[in-house]
């Protein structure tokens, strides 16, 4: 804009001349300074928002990391739960093996019991045979006693027969001696049989005791077998618990994924907000240069007018 000489002359005539333009430009610069001052405040606020939001984003990131940790924990629990199932399978397998062994033991014990019964039967036959032997021995003793009596009678008759009976008396004496020897031998045999019978009774008691112990063992084996069944049943119960744990983990994971999705949505929103903040910041930086341009232009008005006024 060119200032006409007419206007300059007006200043010389005492009129305000171009002073109002200077006044306006001066005020515009003051307004501009005020705007800049507000802009500094506004940029500081934006900076604070940006810093605060960065903090929010950091916290959000931490939270997300924690959620990921949860995910890992669930995975670990699931894994451990799976290991638990393996342990349960191991128990069931081991118990099955043991049960098999116990079954074999049970079978062996029953065989032993059968053998014991056979032994007892055999032993009963043995005792019966001893009784028969004892009876025979008694009969032998009886026969020996009768023979002795016969020998005594024969000796008496031989004595009565005198000289003629002397030979018979010798025979009767031999018979008597023989009968006594038989009787003594029978006594020895009876005594031996008594020992055998005594030992047999002790043996019988041992066998009975062993049999009873074996029976108790078989009972224990049966009880153990039943307990193993209970263990397997309990392990199967654990499987149910494990299934429940797995179901709970699956449900928790689903919920966690929902939470994560919510966070992802929130994060997307945060990013949008951040992008707006960045854009606002970027625009703010452009305003700085524009203020500079405004000031650079405004600052020229006053000296130009002053120069024209002085011309």
């Amino acid at each position: 804009m060119l200032i006409s000489k007419k206007r300059v002359r007006a200043r010389k005539n005492g009129e305000p001349g171009l002073y109002p333009v200077v006044y306006v430009s001066k005020n515009l610069r003051e307004y501009q300074k005020e705007m800049v001052s507000k802009e500094v405040e506004s940029l500081n606020e934006l900076r604070n928002i940006r810093l605060a939001f960065h903090k929010v984003l950091r916290e959000d990131m931490k939270l997300k990391e924690n959620l990921d940790t949860f995910h890992d924990v669930f995975a670990s629990v699931g894994e451990i739960s799976g290991q638990f199932a393996e342990v349960r399978d191991d128990i069931t397998g081991t118990v099955g093996n043991v049960q098999q062994q116990v079954n074999q033991l049970k079978g062996s014990a029953e065989q032993v019991q059968e053998c014991f019964e056979e032994i007892q039967n055999t032993f009963a036959n043995f005792q019966e045979a001893i009784e028969n032997i004892k009876k025979c021995m008694k009969q032998i003793i009886t026969v020996a006693d009768q023979t002795n009596i016969l020998a005594l009678n024969a000796s008496i008759e031989a004595a009565r027969a005198g000289e003629k009976g002397k030979g018979f008396a010798v025979v009767a004496g031999d018979v008597k001696r023989l009968a006594n020897e038989i009787k003594d031998l029978a006594g020895v045999v009876e005594e031996g049989i008594g020992g055998v019978e005594h030992e047999a009774e002790k043996m019988s008691e041992s066998i009975t005791a062993s049999n009873e112990a074996m029976a108790e063992g078989v009972d224990s084996v049966n009880t153990t077998y039943d307990m193993f069944d209970e263990i397997i049943s309990a392990a199967d119960g654990a499987e149910t618990v494990q299934d429940k744990i797995t179901a709970t983990i699956t449900e928790s994971r689903e919920k966690l994924n929902e939470v994560k999705q919510s966070f992802a949505d929130t994060e997307a929103q945060y990013k949008k907000v951040m992008a707006h903040i960045e854009k606002a910041r970027e625009l703010g930086t452009m305003k700085g240069s524009m203020f500079e341009d405004v000031d650079n232009m405004l600052s020229q008005i006053a000296p130009i007018i002053e120069e024209y006024e002085n011309a």
Partner: protein, 351 residues
């Protein structure tokens, strides 16, 4: 078009002009002692040829530190040169000249560039010039000369900005800016308590600027001015970054080589591998142009000092010569469109 570069390390203008004939435009880069003499001699040698000049160091594949350099265009350009005066107070008083020159040359955005040499108040000059050029999308490249003097069309001016509209009749023109720094971190520093006339930066985020600079970089006060080679400030302007060098410490404030304004948003910058950055610039230019007639660049004095300190200046100039005819000057501040920057390289490429 063709670009001519002539030089005399001893400051002999005639020697520098050997081989130059029928120039359409001349740029003179002289020294402080002989500037007026060189301007007059040049006008005598090539009267009526549009020219602009300043005091600085010229270069093509070699640097001329204290002599004289001539960069001239021939065969295919149309140029008009002129000057904005009283730039420290009212460059806009002469905007009409520029407006008329622009009309005279019938400039269009893709074939015309404005090259300027400024003596002072660069930011104000650029605001003023770009208020006109920006509307027509005319690109600008230039720099700050030494000693507060420039020349235009054979005349020396103080407190002025010499400019030339160079129209490439054989193809396109395009300007570039090279930044060998990148933001140190995401920390934004809001400037306040500034004094634009003294290029003073008082506070950043409400704290004394010196303290903030020291705290971020963990350096002593005595190291601040050296540290600016590695960590200058960057003024954000949208996606653009304008580098601002630190000149001195003044109390709790910092004085810079460029004005800083209240509400400017600054970041601290970190020096990158400048050889790699230069190669990237070359690749960028080669991507844009199949055939290059000439490249004219303005390199900051800080870059010259940094490269020279590392014995890389010669290598840098040879690297840039890969583009073809490359010449320019070392300035005290660089101009890129409406931006006044430090520690940068700006250039214009002629197809």
């Amino acid at each position: 078009m063709r670009q001519f570069f002539g030089m005399s390390q001893g400051g002999n203008l005639e020697e520098a002009a050997i081989g130059l004939s029928n120039p359409e435009f001349i740029m003179l880069i002289s020294n402080n002692r002989q500037f007026e003499q060189h301007v007059a001699e040049l006008e005598k040698l090539f009267p009526k040829v549009p020219s602009i000049g300043c005091i600085g160091m010229g270069y093509d594949t070699r640097i001329v530190e204290d002599g004289v350099s001539i960069i001239a265009y021939t065969e295919g350009t149309e140029v008009v040169a002129n000057v904005l005066e009283q730039v420290s107070a009212m460059p806009v008083k002469y905007i009409h000249r520029m407006e008329q020159d622009l009309m005279k040359i019938d400039a269009s955005s893709d074939n015309t560039v404005c090259i300027d040499f400024c003596s002072s108040n660069d930011a104000c000059v650029l605001t003023t010039a770009y208020s006109l050029l920006g509307k027509r999308n005319i690109q600008l490249v230039g720099g700050t000369g030494d000693a507060g003097k420039v020349s235009a069309n054979g005349k020396v001016y103080e407190d002025a900005a010499a400019y030339a509209f160079v129209k490439n009749k054989g193809g396109r023109v395009k300007t570039y800016k090279e930044n060998i720094y990148k933001p140190l971190d995401g920390q934004y520093l809001i400037a306040s308590e500034t004094d634009r006339s003294n290029y003073l930066l008082g506070a950043l985020n409400g704290k004394p600027a010196k303290q903030v600079y020291q705290e971020i970089l963990h350096i002593d006060e005595k190291d601040i001015t050296d540290q600016t080679f590695i960590n200058p400030f960057g003024k954000l302007n949208g996606k653009e970054i304008c580098i601002i060098s630190i000149k001195a410490v003044e109390g709790g404030a910092l004085t810079c080589y460029r004005q800083v304004n209240d509400s400017d948003v600054l970041v601290l910058l970190q020096l990158q591998d400048y050889k790699m950055v230069a190669n990237d610039t070359i690749q960028r230019i080669c991507y844009d142009f199949n055939h290059i007639s000439a490249v004219f660049s303005v390199n900051c004095l800080f870059r010259y000092l940094l490269f020279s300190k590392n014995n890389d200046m010669q290598e840098y100039l040879e690297t840039m010569s890969k583009l073809g005819s490359h010449a320019g000057l070392v300035g005290y501040g660089e101009h890129y469109n409406n931006q006044f920057v430090n520690q940068s390289m700006t250039c214009v490429v002629f197809e």
